[in-house]
Each structure stands twice: as structure tokens, then as C-alpha cells.
């Protein structure tokens, strides 16, 4: 079936009081952004707490829906058949044709829900309900009416033109990106961090990301994998600036100076520090990690406390209470899973000790870090100065 318009419903942002227009404008902007690179011409406009996308040109409805399903803030997407008003008899024919094509199996119940925003229309809403319902019943004797729990809620909206729709495709929910500032995602090549980024972006937060690579211990392909992941997350979150930090020298220095079972914790502390530096530079209001309590040695409560201790910005860990399987489910849903499981080594695992500490004490870790005093500041500065920035969109 060919749809000419998509009616977009948004939930939460409808109740934001006087800021409402800000959220709506952001949502319109995000919808336009989502449709920017696909075939077709799209008019996005808001009216009466709804957003309409009028389509023209050589567009593909499924592709449009696919893109809209990535726009945070939308709770429902209704594909609409838009008809010129050519009298009520024509409307009855159009509605019958609509029902026929949408529901090949006619053993259904339905109810008509009319809405008349053009008040000059000769029939009022109740009259439209009755007349259209009658027309459908006449055309398809198997169809029955059920006003309490209909299988199909058939919407007729009388605007300048007439909108017919019955389907509500769920949107991703959340809030439009850009309405809640920006945060810095620590992005590795794994399963968790892209999901963490997705979840924070879903609350309207724009993303930047930092990736640590360690050539020659990690390969160019591992870096490409991270770019690919950022690209998938950017389909939801909008453009992401990716900071690629060369971490090799810092890692080797820690390896030389500190006890090997503390390597991962100390390394992660420096990662947080460097990510926080970039966050501060670009006005991010928090850090995001994919940590979940107890998943690995560096994510025990003690380890989290030890890595958290170096940051002054809040660290958001949206997966903190998730099991691995739950994270995998989201990553499959958003499409990052297949990229995440490509087998390239990331810099967290290359020197990992057989038995890393699981209950680090901040005091002991700090004492170990004293052994880094001679060169670490310079190494961190070099890592920051030589950052490679990739604009992912």
C-alpha cells in the first residue's frame, strides 16, 4: 500500500509545560535529519501536538518507516493514506478500498474514530463515524463492529485533505536528541559500550565518543570496527565526534612500572581521565560507560569505585544492572551486535593478567600510580595532543 503521509505521535514530551515547543522543534529537526539521506521529498510540520511528514517524489514507505523508527521521542508512527476531499461518497469508496487492501482477511472487528479539525466539513465527527462505519459494513459483510475492543481502530481525520489510517507502528520512545545536552561515551569495540551510548542518547543526550587504540597490539581493523559501531549508534544519536587516542605508550609504561595484576584498573583510570579531558573541552556534561556490576574483574563494585574516583564529571552507566544476555538483546535490536562480535583484540585485553585484582583498594592503587610520576603526565599530554578526530555521521 502506498502511504502519502506519516503521522507521528510523541509521548512524554507532550507534558513538558512551557518548554514543550523546544522539545517539539528538536523532534522536528531530528525527523528531518533522519530523512535527509533517503530518496524522496519530505515536508515535516507540526500541528496540534502532532508531527506530519508529507511525502512526495520517489520514496519508499518501508524505508521512511525504518528511518522514523530510529528517531528518539517518537512513540508511534502512523502510515496515512491522504485523499483530496471529493465529497462524502468518494470518501466512503476510499475507506472501503483502504480496508480492503490493509486487511485481506476480513474476519475482523473495527471501530471508526473520526476527527474533524476543518469545522466547515458538512458532517460532524459522530456523523462521520456512523456513515463510514456503515459503508465499511456494506462493502464487507464479514467485518463486524466492536466499539469496546476493536481489532482495528480506523481513523478518519478531516483536515484540508482527508487522512485515513489504522496502523500505529511503535517508535523507539525516549526524548529527541539534543534536548538534554551532550555526554562523552567511552567506546570500545565490544558489545556493551554501543548499547550504553544508545540508551543515554535515547534520553535526548547528544554523544561524543573516545576510543583507545594501541598499535601494534590492536589493528587498524579494530579501529575500523569502532568507527562502524559509532556509525550505527549515530543513526539514532545523530553525528558523533570520535576521539581516537593512541594509548600504547601509556599502557607500556604502566606495564613497566606497576604490578601486573593492577594493570587493567590503572589503565582504566587513565582512560577515564583522558576521556574526561575531551569531555570538558567540548562541553560534555558527563561520561558514559558500558559497565555492568561484576561482569569482569574491572567492573566489581570495588573496581568501579576505583575508576570512578578519578572523575569529577558524573559517570553514567546505563547498563549497570543488566545481565549480559539483556545487553546482547538490545545490541541485536539496535543492530550493533554483529559488528561487535568481530574478533579483533581491543586494548583492554592485550596485557590482561591471568588473575587481575577484583577488589582493588584505592589506597594501594594510588601508591602504585606514584611509580608513574616521572613520565605519565607527559605521556598523557602526548596522547591528548596526538588525538585523531573522526566525524562519524
Amino acid at each position: 500500500m502506498i502511504f502519502q503521509t506519516f503521522l507521528l505521535k510523541y509521548g512524554e514530551i507532550g507534558i513538558k509545560g512551557k518548554n514543550r515547543h523546544l522539545f517539539e522543534d528538536a523532534l522536528v529537526r531530528q525527523v528531518r535529519y533522519a530523512l535527509k539521506d533517503i530518496d524522496g521529498e519530505f515536508q515535516v510540520h507540526k500541528s496540534q501536538a502532532r508531527i506530519y511528514v508529507d511525502c512526495a517524489g520517489d520514496y519508499d514507505s518501508d524505508e521512511v518507516i525504518g528511518q522514523l523508527r530510529k528517531v528518539f521521542g517518537l512513540v508511534g508512527i502512523c502510515p496515512v493514506v491522504r485523499k483530496k476531499d471529493e465529497g462524502f461518497d468518494q470518501l466512503k469508496k476510499d475507506v472501503a478500498a483502504f480496508m480492503d487492501e490493509m486487511y485481506p482477511d476480513k474476519r475482523i472487528t473495527f471501530k471508526v474514530e473520526a476527527r474533524r479539525s476543518r469545522k466547515t466539513y458538512p458532517l460532524n465527527s459522530m456523523e462521520i463515524n456512523c456513515a463510514v462505519g456503515e459503508a465499511v459494513l456494506e462493502a464487507f459483510p464479514e467485518i463486524r463492529v466492536d466499539v469496546h475492543k476493536p481489532d482495528v481502530l480506523l481513523h478518519i481525520e478531516v483536515r484540508n485533505e482527508i487522512y485515513i489510517y489504522s496502523q500505529i507502528i511503535p517508535g523507539p520512545g525516549g526524548m529527541p536528541v539534543g534536548t538534554n545536552g551532550k555526554a562523552m561515551l567511552l567506546l570500545s569495540g565490544g558489545i556493551d559500550s554501543p548499547v550504553a551510548g544508545y540508551m543515554i542518547a535515547k534520553r535526548g543526550v547528544g554523544l561524543e565518543a573516545t576510543y583507545f587504540h594501541a598499535p601494534p597490539y590492536t589493528s587498524e581493523r579494530a579501529k575500523q570496527k569502532v568507527v562502524d559501531l559509532a556509525k550505527i549508534v549515530a543513526e539514532y544519536a545523530g553525528p558523533i565526534r570520535l576521539n581516537v587516542v593512541n594509548f600504547t605508550d601509556i599502557q607500556l609504561y604502566i606495564y613497566d612500572q606497576c604490578p601486573h595484576d593492577e594493570l587493567t584498573i590503572i589503565m582504566r583510570r587513565y582512560m577515564m581521565k583522558i576521556a574526561e579531558h575531551f569531555a570538558g573541552e567540548s562541553g560534555c556534561l558527563g561520561l558514559i560507560t558500558g559497565e555492568s556490576i561484576g561482569q569482569v574483574a574491572s567492573q566489581t563494585m570495588q573496581s568501579l569505585a576505583a575508576t570512578n574516583e578519578v572523575c569529577s564529571l558524573p559517570v553514567y552507566r546505563p547498563l549497570i544492572g543488566f545481565d549480559k544476555q539483556e545487553i546482547v538483546e538490545v545490541s541485536e535490536k539496535i543492530g550493533t551486535y554483529e559488528t561487535s562480535i568481530q574478533p579483533f583484540e581491543d586494548c583492554c585485553t592485550i596485557f590482561v593478567a591471568k588473575h587481575p585484582v577484583t577488589k582493588p583498594s584505592i589506597k594501594i592503587i594510588k601508591r602504585s600510580e606514584e611509580k608513574l610520576e616521572e613520565k605519565i603526565d607527559e605521556l598523557v599530554r602526548t596522547a591528548i595532543d596526538t588525538v585523531e578526530i573522526i566525524e562519524v555521521r
Binding site: P216, E220, V352
Partner: protein, 385 residues
């Protein structure tokens, strides 16, 4: 300095080959099956290519069949000949260190088509054991497939001895050779070697990718594995890749020009490389490294360094090599070939393959040696626990 030592993965095409491919693609673009003059012109390239290759191998032009490369050649030889001869028996023999194009095809025939396959073990130098071949032969054997040069360690298989043994046992058993790494490094004469089928690939001899050929002795019964317009005597349907075929044939002619001198240079470089690289402590050379091994492949183990790490460290200095075999090294499974030749554990995940071509220079080899001397001790300091 840019150093390319991954010529067993693929080679740079000769410039003249590139020019010819472009000319055929853009100017002499006819379909060889067309009846008009453009078709006739295109067909000429194919005819000439067959003649060139046939002459190089002392076989008949009609025994050359063009394919999309080594993998397709191996598939056609094994699947096509097994199916065509299954009334004579259902037993196939190959070695345990073949390229995946052979091993996975054999596995398919075993699992899906009911053939029985014997995988011959190899000695510590990566050569098949002839006694094992003798033992494996039986009245049901219809096909034996052994590679000419192993792609990972460069061992050269005793093809003449093996084929002679097979033919003495039963002259009807077919003998196939995967010569993807040997063609262009050795003068290979299938009739003298008593070989019935032989696979070669274009991009390993400075020709275009997506090209190759299968030599099939005129007496061999074989069935097609792809179906279509019945080109190439219905053995390999599909419009011929005329530009590729022209390029492949030119590359073959060029690589065999002054072959002996080129090979002598490679041997010299190889000997020098081995002499120097083994001065680095805890290194080992896999397979044989005298004149009985391939002139262009050197497989070196560096204990204590994961091959991927050393590979990327070399890459950083402009040197391209591969770990294990490039075709298989996208997934981090440990090489079956290295296991097969009984490689010690510390070298299994710590081996690089350096493979040369006629373009390799002494300067490149020396630069690579200097770089290894510099990198290996540094990388060994940092290891996983």
C-alpha cells in the same frame, strides 16, 4: 620504505597486464560468443591465451579451462571429477596441509555426497609421506589431490613420485595438483608429471584477481559444477572473462621469461634472510629451507610475540607480511599446517610468513631484517601473563 613481502597472498600486477586488461575491457569488449566481428575479436584473446598457457606447460590448448581463480579451479576439479567417476569408486585422497579451497571442498564431498576422504599426514618439513599414500590407495580410490607448493611454509611436494605411485597402482585414478603457489615459480609439465588436472591462479603471478585456469587432460571425465550457456565445452558455463583471461595469459608469459634467473635471485635473498633472521634468539624457520623448498616463501616463528602484534608493528614501518596464510588469517584460528608439521606450541601463534616476488630487492630484505632486529626485543618485553 614500503616493502611488500606478502606475495603469496597476492601480487602487484605487471603494468603491461593492467594496460592490456583495460584495452580489452574498454575497446575489444565483445562477447566471444557473439557472431559479429567484435565477438570474433574477443574470441581471439581466448584462443591466444590457451595457446600461450598450453605452450608453457606443454599441453594442448583444448585442455585449458578458464576459471575465476584458484578456488573455483580446485572446486571444479574435485567436485566435477568425483561426480563424473563415482561409479568407479568413492574414495578420495588428499594431504592434511592443503589450502582451504581443497580441504573444505573435500569436507563437502565427504559430508554431503558420500565420498570417503583420506587426509595424508606430513613430515616435519611439510611434505606428504609417500608410504602413507601407498597405504591409503585402495580399489575404491578415484582421485588424489596434492598441492605443488604449500602456501604457508613453502614445502614442495613430491608430485612426480606421488603421481607415479598412484598411476602404477591404478592408471585410472585421477591425480590433481593445486599449483596456485607453484605456477610461475617452477616450470610445470603435467604430462611429464603424470598429472591429470592442475589448478593455477592469475593474481599470484602478477595477473588480475578473479582469473585462473584449470588444466584438464583430454581423457579426464568431468562434470560441470555451474550451469548456463555451455561456454568452454560446457565444462564451465558463463561468458568468459576476456580481459582477465588476456591479462592472465600475458602475466604467465612474462613471469616465465628468464624464470631461472629470477628464481636464483629469490633463492639468494631467501638464504640471506634466513641466515640473518635466525641470529635473532628464539626464532625458528618452519619447513625446509634449502633448494628443495619454494624460492619465495619463508615462514618464521618468533617465540613470545603474537604474530598479529609483530605484523602490525612491521606494518607501522611500511612492511607488509602475513600471519599464517592470508586467506585463512582473518579468523584467529591457529594454522592447521603449522600444527600438522608438529610446530612447537610457542611458535604456533607466533609465526609470520614472508613471501617474495621478482620485484623484491636486497634493500627491502635488509630493511626488513633491520626492522625485525629492532622490534623483536622491544615487543618481547611486553607479554601477556
Amino acid at each position: 620504505m614500503d616493502v611488500y613481502l606478502d606475495n603469496s597472498a597476492t601480487t602487484r600486477a605487471y603494468g603491461d597486464v593492467g594496460d592490456l586488461v583495460r584495452k580489452v575491457m574498454c575497446e575489444d569488449f565483445g562477447n566471444p560468443s557473439s557472431m559479429h566481428y567484435r565477438g570474433v575479436d574477443a574470441e581471439k584473446y581466448i584462443k591466444e591465451a590457451k595457446e600461450t598457457l598450453a605452450k608453457l606447460m606443454k599441453v594442448q590448448p583444448k585442455e585449458i579451462f578458464f576459471t575465476s581463480g584458484g578456488t573455483e579451479g580446485d572446486n571444479l576439479a574435485l567436485i566435477g571429477a568425483s561426480r563424473a567417476n563415482k561409479r568407479a569408486g568413492n574414495h578420495l585422497i588428499t594431504s592434511s596441509i592443503e589450502h582451504p579451497a581443497i580441504l573444505n571442498t573435500m569436507r563437502y564431498l565427504e559430508e554431503e555426497e558420500g565420498f570417503r576422504v583420506t587426509y595424508l599426514p606430513v613430515d616435519s618439513f611439510g611434505r606428504i609421506r609417500l608410504e602413507a599414500l601407498k597405504e591409503a590407495l585402495c580399489k575404491d580410490t578415484i582421485l588424489v589431490s596434492v598441492m605443488y607448493v604449500n602456501n604457508e611454509v613453502g614445502s614442495v611436494q613430491p608430485i612426480l613420485e606421488a603421481a607415479s605411485m598412484v598411476k602404477a597402482y591404478n592408471k585410472n585414478i585421477l591425480f590433481h595438483v593445486d599449483a596456485v603457489q607453484g605456477f610461475g615459480k617452477y616450470r610445470i609439465y603435467p604430462k611429464k608429471l603424470k598429472v591429470d588436472m592442475l589448478t593455477a591462479s592469475g593474481h599470484k603471478i602478477h595477473g588480475p584477481k578473479g582469473t585462473g585456469f584449470l588444466y584438464i587432460d583430454e581423457h579426464v571425465k568431468i562434470k560441470p559444477i555451474v550451469f548456463g550457456g555451455e561456454q568452454q565445452k560446457n565444462i564451465r558455463s558463463g561468458t568468459e572473462n576476456v580481459p582477465g583471461i588476456a591479462g592472465l595469459s600475458m602475466a604467465a608469459a612474462m613471469i616465465y621469461q628468464d624464470l631461472e634467473e629470477k628464481v636464483a635471485v629469490m633463492r639468494c635473498l631467501k638464504a640471506h634472510f634466513i641466515e640473518e633472521v635466525t641470529k635473532i634468539p628464539q626464532t625458528t624457520i618452519h619447513g625446509l629451507y634449502d633448494e628443495t623448498s619454494a624460492p619465495h616463501i619463508i615462514s618464521v616463528g618468533f617465540a613470545g610475540i603474537r604474530s598479529e602484534v609483530l605484523l602490525h608493528a612491521l606494518e607501522d614501518k611500511g612492511i607488509c607480511v602475513s600471519s599464517g596464510s592470508a586467506c585463512a588469517s582473518n579468523h584467529p584460528a591457529v594454522s592447521g599446517v603449522l600444527k600438522g608439521i608438529g610446530t612447537k606450541k610457542e611458535y604456533l601463534d607466533a609465526t609470520l610468513r614472508f613471501s617474495m616476488s621478482e620485484f623484491t630487492t636486497p634493500e627491502e630484505i635488509d630493511y626488513t631484517l633491520d626492522t625485525l632486529n629492532e622490534l623483536v626485543p622491544v615487543l618481547r618485553r611486553y607479554t601477556r601473563h
